[in-house]
């Protein structure tokens, strides 16, 4: 007889994140998740984990290395991971794990829940009733220059005109950098004032943001699930800084990726 607690050969337990014990499994109805079988809730004494049985052919260390390099695989995994957490979030607080957190078997997931159960429960209590929203702000360079009153270049400038123009351009570059820093800081302060917690991440360079406009704010905000105040604050900021070429992008609600510790101590 084989040990019934031993992991199924060729499979492992993909773990999306952790929910409280009062989580209703109905929230996951229709969730596809990863793997062939429905999402499985593994219940410990103080918290429960959202898991899927996955194949080692896909999630074993070597295949995973290759799969993370495959754009389509990465997209499918990221969307499935997020979908399960978002459905859960509609019903209860969740602690999101990083993509591709995989345990050997059910027994090992239970071990995790028993080792860190108290930490999970405490964190879930703090997160109850909240969601994460993302706000990014971008500066349109042409609109900024227009607002700053930069004149278009004359068709055939004289030497003196050229020198004056170069000087003016340098001043405008400095002004723009200064404005970006100030606008980013004051926008974050304004948004943080209506949030329970706030996190300013480094603005992404254009090659990462996928936009030509310069990012000046890359913020995440933990807010009450009914989050009107943050959207109102974004609208106000648009009014204040819009005329100078700034636009804001509000995303979410997200599971609180930015408001869970990177590492959790054992309890």
């Amino acid at each position: 007889m084989s040990d019934p607690r031993a992991p199924l050969p060729g499979t492992a337990y993909y773990t999306y994140g952790v929910v409280p014990l009062d989580f209703s499994s109905a929230a996951l109805d229709g969730a596809q998740g990863l793997g062939e079988r429905p999402v499985e809730i593994v219940t410990g004494e103080k918290a429960a984990a959202l898991t899927s049985v996955v194949s080692l052919d896909e999630f074993g260390e070597e295949p995973l290395r290759a799969n993370l390099n495959d754009r389509d695989w990465l997209e499918r995994a990221a969307r499935a991971h997020e979908e399960v957490l978002e459905r859960a979030l509609a019903d209860a607080p969740v602690i999101p794990f990083r993509l591709c957190t995989v345990y050997r078997g059910r027994e090992q997931v239970l071990e995790l829940l028993s080792e860190r159960g108290a930490t999970f429960a405490e964190l879930l209590d703090r997160l109850r009733g909240t969601v994460e929203l993302g706000v990014k702000a971008y500066l349109d360079r042409a609109r900024f220059l227009e607002a700053a009153g930069a004149a278009p270049a004359p068709a055939s400038p004289s030497g003196r005109e050229y020198m004056l123009r170069r000087q003016r351009e340098r001043t405008l570059d400095e002004e723009r950098e200064q404005f970006k820093a100030e606008c980013g800081r004051s926008s974050h302060e304004r948004l943080a004032a209506v949030a329970l917690a706030a996190q300013a991440n480094p603005p992404q360079p254009p090659e990462v943001s996928g936009r030509t406009d310069e990012m000046l704010l890359n913020g995440a905000y933990l807010v009450e699930a009914a989050h009107g105040a943050l959207a109102d604050a974004v609208a106000e900021l648009e009014q204040t800084y819009g005329p100078r070429g700034v636009s804001y992008e509000l995303t979410g609600p997200w599971p609180p990726y930015n408001f869970v510790p990177r590492e959790l101590a054992e309890t």
């Binding site: 995973l64 993370l68 969307r79 990083r98 936009r211 990726y257 930015n258 590492e263």
Partner: protein, 64 residues
Amino acid sequence: MTESLDRPLEQQITLLELVDRVLNKGVVLSGDIMLSVADVDLVYVGLRVLLASVGTLERLHEEP
């Protein structure tokens, strides 16, 4: 052109935002009860693949 490149730019950027969160944020656990942890290098490799495709897409949009 592959299917994923047919989708609009907006959706690609949302995906980027998503991948940024699921790979760079969230709880990271480690220990011998885990099967595999995508280490930081792997994460950057994965993100680079995605960024490269977004860059490609943007150029496709700019060229009529």
